[in-house]
Symmetry: C2
Subunit: 145 residues, 2 copies
DNA sequence: CAACAAAGTTAGTCACGTCTAACTTTTTCT
DNA sequence: AGAAAAAGTTAGACGTGACTAACTTTGTTG
């Protein structure tokens, strides 16, 4: 029996956790509570708490004191979230915004972008990259306004 | 003494309330608790509760059983929020997204867009309106992907 | 003008996601 | 191996913003 394609209603907080966990796994090979807490700038206690809820929700497997692993559905979700984050960052970067603003705005809005909007922004980004003149104007105007 | 330019840390919920309140005032001339509740799809009790907090925060003047009025800072804030909402909607509309998606996404992300990002999107929207060929391609690709 | 309806309010509860303080388990270091 | 440090957990609390149920005030209408 293949993994069921569970339609989830994940909160922004849950998405943030998954995003960081996947990032840690990709860079360090594993995700410890301390590290997750440090990246999200919240307490370890809060992380333990959420990790237990993510386990209950089937997004990861958690063993007390021993660590955690994403389930296949958790990982799939985390990858989508990460991709969405990347596409949005690329788009804002193209518009000439500074890294801090990009990080802040993407962090806030990424949880609210539907697949079709994301597709449109992706396509737009592609085309804009071939429009250096237009981009120059946009960046200039955005700076001056 | 002129009104102080108070730098606020308004939550998404507060922004949603202000947006609806201004909309009601603009269309009906006043904002009643029932109407706010109906537009936001929440209970009247919740609205009463929030209205009292907005009063305490100086964003509106509220008199029990009698109604409410935005203060000048509340109105200024509400106008900014409304403008931001409008600009984001226009941008997504330009990309060919359907009204329901636009409403949903803007409702979610509007609270997280910084002024500089908004300026960039505004400038971009202006220029894209002169690029029908590019827009046609983007819309098509977003549909197909 | 009395009664009924509509609008508004209060009180109490809840879920979410955070926190600190205290405690337990695991790891590291000598 | 034993002590100290680091990591992890639990318990209890809090703010935000929603809810329902019960109540009060205001408005309407015969």
């Amino acid at each position: 029996m293949p993994a069921k394609a569970t339609q989830r209603h994940t909160s922004s907080a849950v998405e943030d956790y998954l995003e960081r966990i996947l990032e840690l796994i990709n860079t360090k090979g594993y995700a410890r509570v301390v590290d997750i807490a440090q990246r999200l700038e919240i307490s370890q206690a809060s992380v333990t708490n959420m990790v237990q809820r993510l386990d209950a929700g089937g997004l990861l497997k958690y063993e007390k004191y021993r660590g955690l692993v994403l389930t296949s559905s958790g990982e799939a979700l985390a990858r989508n979230i990460t991709r969405r984050h990347q596409l949005l960052s690329d788009f804002l970067k193209l518009l000439g915004l500074d890294d801090e603003t990009i990080y802040h705005d993407v962090e806030g809005m990424e949880h609210h972008i539907s697949p079709s909007t994301l597709r449109a922004i992706e396509a737009l980004t592609q085309h804009l990259q071939r429009q250096p003149v237009l981009l120059t104007k946009v960046r200039k105007e955005a700076r001056e306004d």
